[in-house]
Symmetry: D2
Subunit: 138 residues, 4 copies
């Protein structure tokens, strides 16, 4: 399975008045986990978006279950893995823990979206190129 | 059904290099939608957290489906409604649109969590007080 | 003097574990104050950037003095005014208060920057068009 | 001179529709630079705030000059150094570069602020303890 593990520290500005990470930050970390996973398999986002003429890999669906709080200054381990690859979309799953303690599990379904023909035009998902699909293990 | 509708504008710093809202921002808007819903039914968060001695209503689970992009400077309409209220948790659903165009649908399951006995201590969900439950339509 | 006043509420995610607004948020509010000031004088950013072919009005210099804390759920009044307009740059000053209590004073010097000839190319400041200068009171 | 150098990558969500880092993010990086500098001299924030009973080291004044844009996925080098230490306040200066190219210079003046006697009470700066002052090179 295509996977990558990275670490990130909960910053002062990530934590809320309750002293725990503001939950939308987890989705920022999932976003970072996916970008880092792509870089780890030779598909760094900036070059990849440029090469294939896509606007990016926007989110179609996402979700998370929160198991225990991440506190300010905790070092999070984020394990991101490709769950599946379809024609125009793929799913990445993320497991976040502090040491041995699981914090959260999340997922992202993303689409391969070409640049609009006219600026600000409608966005359309396209088939993921074969070589990208292959690197994603699909 | 207990519900509230609010509007928020996509700020420059909410949008990414593709010119569309960075997806974790939607969860910030859901968070804001829930806080505003509570205020609309006489349960403003600061006073409510203080009165009942809770650290807040942290997230247990959340998720979203993204239907169309929200662009920089778009005015978003966020309709937040209470889907259900259980003993210690409740679910709020959010519909985000730009004018008539639906952008995203999301949900949050949150728990009623008391302050730890010792600072930094373990967090435990407790029964939602009857008068809060009633205002939430549960 | 060209000026505009707006209000913004400190959100849960804006506040840190000390319960007060994380200071970089003030710069987000200054950014919002400038964008709102421009809209108030008939120069909404999206249309203005498009019409004049600029990437935006990036920051050259900024700064702030913090007088008293802004707390979670405080309603901030932000008064933004144009201090001066030069050939390629202009300065906006911001006063933030909670009711009568002053919280912060800040400023932004921004440049009028044209789109690079090639994507990712160097950015250059250009002369602010006469009609924009006039609306800014310069 | 007490100083520390760290690196941080510009994330997708840090960049704006112009493809460059949204300027308030620089202040988030200065905040991170100061926290990392303190950790590097044996004063990690969480333990330090607890030990001395302070709410933190809130900002009194900050500012920055922006020299060239930081783009999405750029790796920033942040050099943070203590400029001076006074009785109740200290100043940290930050230099941000991408490789050899300077991006920004900023500063923060922060105060040593004790916990209020009553929750939500007024915040007061106090004298920086001798051993902290010494580690800061003051």
């Amino acid at each position: 399975m295509i996977a990558n593990t990275m670490q990130v520290k909960v910053r002062w500005g990530d934590a809320d008045p309750a002293g725990i990470a503001f939950y939308p930050r987890f989705y920022e970390w999932y976003d970072l986990g996916t970008e880092t996973l792509f870089a780890s398999i030779g598909l760094p986002f900036p070059e990849t978006f440029e090469r294939y003429g896509i606007v990016g890999v926007p989110i179609v669906e996402s979700g998370a279950t929160f198991l225990s709080p991440a506190r300010w200054a905790d070092v999070l381990t984020i394990r991101s893995s490709v769950a599946w690859v379809r024609d125009k979309t793929f799913r990445v799953e993320h497991e976040v823990s502090v040491g041995e303690r699981p914090c959260a599990r999340g997922f992202e379904v993303r689409a391969w979206v070409e640049r609009p023909v006219t600026p600000g035009g409608a966005l359309h998902a396209e088939s993921i190129p074969a070589e990208v699909r292959q690197r994603l293990g699909g």
